[in-house]
Amino acid sequence: MKESLTHIFLDAFLINNFVLCVFLGMCSFLGLSGKFATAWRMGVSVMFVITVSGALSFAVNLLLVRFHAEYLRIIVYIVIIAATVQLTEMFIKKVSPALFRELGVYLPLITTNCAVLAVPLFQTSRGYNFVQSTVFSIAASGGYCAALVLLSLVREHVELSDVPSLARGTAMTLVLAAILSLAFMGFGGMGNGG
């Protein structure tokens, strides 16, 4: 693997944005993007969980390969993620009870966010080393956070306008997401330089 770190970062953050181009973490993207305040908090906590669980699963994968137990990968990764979410919850509770109260409801949901499971799976299948994996986790989760925040800002504006009654709700959100995704396709051209 001779990909440069800058290329990995740009690729995961913009060119193959996890939400808008690879369709990961769709449920929370559509469900939690109604308000900017919720969106960025969710985005930041997902970033934290992805970075920690990405590093942990890199280490555990070395063990799995050592003992020829690759078939356990999916189960082990999901357990790592569940544990990381639990740890994050305890950590935030200890450090900042105020933030914990605000985030409380959303924290357990991170376990069922497919973007979180996808990061360790992708870094394993692409054979990244530790530094590359960490850069990849940060970039991918940053891309998730950015997409969530962007959509929430657009949706807050659409709230104020007169949407036809048929299109209210999910259909409108999907159209907005389509336009955002169209805009992100423009970054595709950057891929060739890396």
Binding site: L20, C21, V22, F23, L24, G25, M26, C27, S28, F29, L30, G31, L32, Y71, L72, R73, I74, I75, I78, V79, A82, P108, L109, T111, T112, N113, C114, V116, L117, A118, L121, F122, S125, L166, A167, T170, A171, M172, L174, V175, A177, A178, I179, S181, L182, F184, M185
Partner: protein
Amino acid sequence: MSEVSCHTPPTITADSNPFRNGLWRQNPVFVMVLGMCPTLAITNSVRNAVSMGLATTFVMVCSYGLISMIRRLIPKQVRIATYIAVLATAVTVVDYLVKAISIPIYVALGAYIPLIVSNCLTLERAEAYAGKQPVIKSMLDGLGMGFGFTIALTMLGAVREVLGAGTFLGVHLFGANFEPWVLFLLPPGGFISLAMWLLFFAWWKERGAKRELAKAA
């Protein structure tokens, strides 16, 4: 509703028949809006859509049977972790199964097979149904939900394949002069086609309600 669900699905009264319920009344994609990641990512051709739907159905039927069997043994606090462990086991089986059946499909579905574990649909139904109901009913629910999911994926895949590539199941439909609408194969096309289907169903429902009203008046 349940704490595992990523967002609150609309409250629609369930059909008494668990199989028919998933197929139409509480269709996972068009009504509940669950399991969005594979719905949008894998539907760029009909073949991929059908295989993804069947893989998910298999996982749901097997794991719901097991979850329902052990539902009285699971302590309430660790039920979600248990569901995830059961699901992950079934998914590992499917992962190897698809690899053994067809390598091209395995490559096309890629990371989305392992991701069935964290598909909100599979967990949501485990929590809402299989953890509380007897074995046969839970498996029927899994089968109905799985087929409902497959149908929805196929409908989406058909629109995207016909408009985006001018083919259906790989067969060319429009002759050589057709200029494919490539946008529909790309990510934005997924969002747009799902939005169009949702709009179509909303319009259909409203039309039906209006007719009922006209009949009553």
